[in-house]
């Protein structure tokens, strides 16, 4: 009686050959850059300089920094005696409009960060400069939805401008408290393109860092200014651009940044002029949240 045939196990050679396969240099990641926050823009040379070598010691810069931070600290401590956010309580309660960003000089542009799909290898461009008479801000550039040739990106074409996080003394994070208001008020002049307004709130977990509340802003073109009032109840929650099933209203007590994104898939130049960005209290707007919160798996 012959013994049953043993099935042959796979030889180790194919496994070994997979391990020895040469990976392209761009996917080889040195150990130091495995931290999530370190992002290297494609095309930029890898920076292997240790952090202590990047510090540039400069006495005048140091003194300026000391003066700036201690002035901010002094204002915070003295403002505390006046009331919340340095204003008397009655002013805080009766405030109906507040201009948060207005563009009256070059320093106002420093509060904004521009970004486009150039960071992932695309060809869109965005620039920001002061408008006529230094009273407005002009966002302009070119949108190009040609995807980068990296073999994995299928869609592209976005440009965005985002405000920087407000900082208190010694670079501590501060937040905008818009709990007295219920509408976002913008005065803009566009070219007919649909933009998206993005509001980012303070989050706790690292996986929430891309949680943003969005709403649309349709510009009408033309020479006339457009007053846009968007109630905060209309903003919906997205994560990395994907609308979430589990929707929540926007809490206004800890707002970090506001941004404007253009991604309408229409290649070509664009322009958006912004006079001011503010918040207002619309007494007639009583809606708390515009969207119903559906259960994802409802019980039948």
């Amino acid at each position: 009686m012959s013994l049953p045939k043993m099935t042959r196990l796979l030889s180790r050679r194919p496994l070994v050959s997979i391990q020895q396969q040469q990976l392209p240099p761009s996917t080889l990641v040195p150990g130091r850059t495995l931290i999530q926050s370190e992002y290297r823009r494609p095309g930029k040379p890898r920076d292997n300089e240790p952090p202590w070598q990047k510090i540039k010691f400069d006495l005048s810069k140091g003194l300026e920094g000391v003066k700036k931070h201690f002035t901010l600290l002094k204002n915070e401590l003295t403002g505390r005696w006046v009331g919340p956010e340095g204003k008397p309580i009655i002013e805080h309660m009766l405030e109906q409009n507040r201009v948060v960003w207005e563009f009256r000089g070059p320093e106002s542009l420093q509060q904004w960060t521009l970004s486009s799909d150039r960071e992932i290898g695309g060809q869109s461009e965005i620039y920001m400069e002061l408008g006529r008479n230094s009273t407005t801000c002009l966002l302009y550039g070119t949108l190009c939805s040609t995807p980068p040739r990296d073999g994995e990106t299928r869609y592209s074409g976005y440009c965005t401008a985002r405000s920087k996080q407000p900082l208190a003394s010694f670079d501590r994070k501060k937040h905008h408290d818009w709990s007295s208001f219920n509408c976002l008020h913008l005065r803009i002049r566009g070219d007919g393109r649909p933009w998206m307004v993005n509001i980012a709130t303070e989050t706790y977990f690292s996986h929430q860092k891309d949680d943003i509340y969005n709403y649309f802003m349709y510009t009408r073109g033309g020479p006339y200014w457009q007053d846009v009032k968007i109630p905060f109840s209309k903003f919906f929650l997205t994560h990395r651009g994907r609308i979430q099933d589990d929707q929540h209203p926007l809490w206004l007590d800890k707002i970090n940044t506001i941004g404007f994104t253009l991604g309408d898939n229409a290649d070509g130049p664009f322009q958006l002029e912004i006079d001011f960005i503010g918040v207002c209290k619309d007494y007639a707007h009583t809606e708390e949240f515009a969207y119903e919160k559906y259960k994802r798996n409802p019980e039948v």
């Binding site: 505390r80 009331g83 919340p84 956010e85 309580i89 805080h92 309660m93 009766l94 408290d177 709990s179 007295s180 219920n182 709130t201 989050t203 706790y204 977990f205 929430q208 949680d211 589990d246 929540h248 809490w251 007590d253 209290k281 619309d282 007494y283 007639a284 707007h285 009583t286």
Partner: protein, 350 residues
Amino acid sequence: MNPYVLSILLMGLGLGTTVTFASSHWLLAWMGLEMNTLAILPLMAQHHHPRAVEAATKYFLIQSAAAATILFASSTNAWLSGQWDIQHITHPLPTVMITIALSLKLGLAPLHAWLPEVVQGLDLTTGLVLSTWQKLAPFALLLQISPEIPLLITSLGLISMLAGGWGGLNHTQLRKVLAYSSVAHLGWMMVVMQFSTSLTALALLMYVIMTTSAFLTFKLLKSTDMNSLAMSWAKTPSVTALAPMMLLSLGGLPPLSGFLPKWLIIQELTKQELGLVATVAALSALLSLFFYLRVCYCLTFTSSPNNLAGVAPWRLESKQISLPLATSTSLSILLLPISPAILSLTLPLF
């Protein structure tokens, strides 16, 4: 929430506190505290709002750290003294560690930084449970170990009173104001603990009644900040009239109920020749009184025909049961004239 799940969680909360009350062994007390922590976490995160989940996470981390410290300290005490009995904790090292851990659990200064953020992320009902029921179990343990470390307890009390008063000064969010109010009231309870546990219990009882009234009032008015509170005259004028009384009672003004514990505590401190502590306590009450008065101002002095501070509310009939609010508000306003009766009832108990 599913009513079965809710009832299990509420029973867990009740059981946890009861187990800690009834325990004489540190491990059983620790178990009761853990049951309390775990039972309230789903209640905190039930709405799944990112801020609620953040509050639940922070609460879990803080309470777990404190519970681990309690476990470590009680084990150290068992190693050093050979026993697990709660009242026989004598070695200073575990005593101090347990006191600090219980202070972290309660939110006593200087370990109070978590409390305002956590209460701010919760809805008002869960915030009420956190501010009242969750304080009982750690307090029961502190009452039993307080004779061993009087100086630490008094210092924690004084710092809490000052931190609670100063910290709550510039907030417009009502939940944060109530959190700092909680810190300040805990300070009052701690400062007299070494001399009279019955006064501490009385102060705790009055605090629970007044805080319950405050949270239920804000829940009825659907207000979480001062601007929406300013429109309460249009929602329920009767509550708008009584709420300032309740807030001033929290501030400790006579002839309201909240004056009773403060008066007796200052009297006891003076009898014990701690005049300076009594003075600092009385002055710190002024800080708290300022922000209570600010809330009263927003509630009452901003009504029509002044400019409105908030949006016009929908006038819907509230489904909230009025008996707890009515009872707690009445008790928080009207108890001072019967203080001899209250003292004769509470003093023999503790």
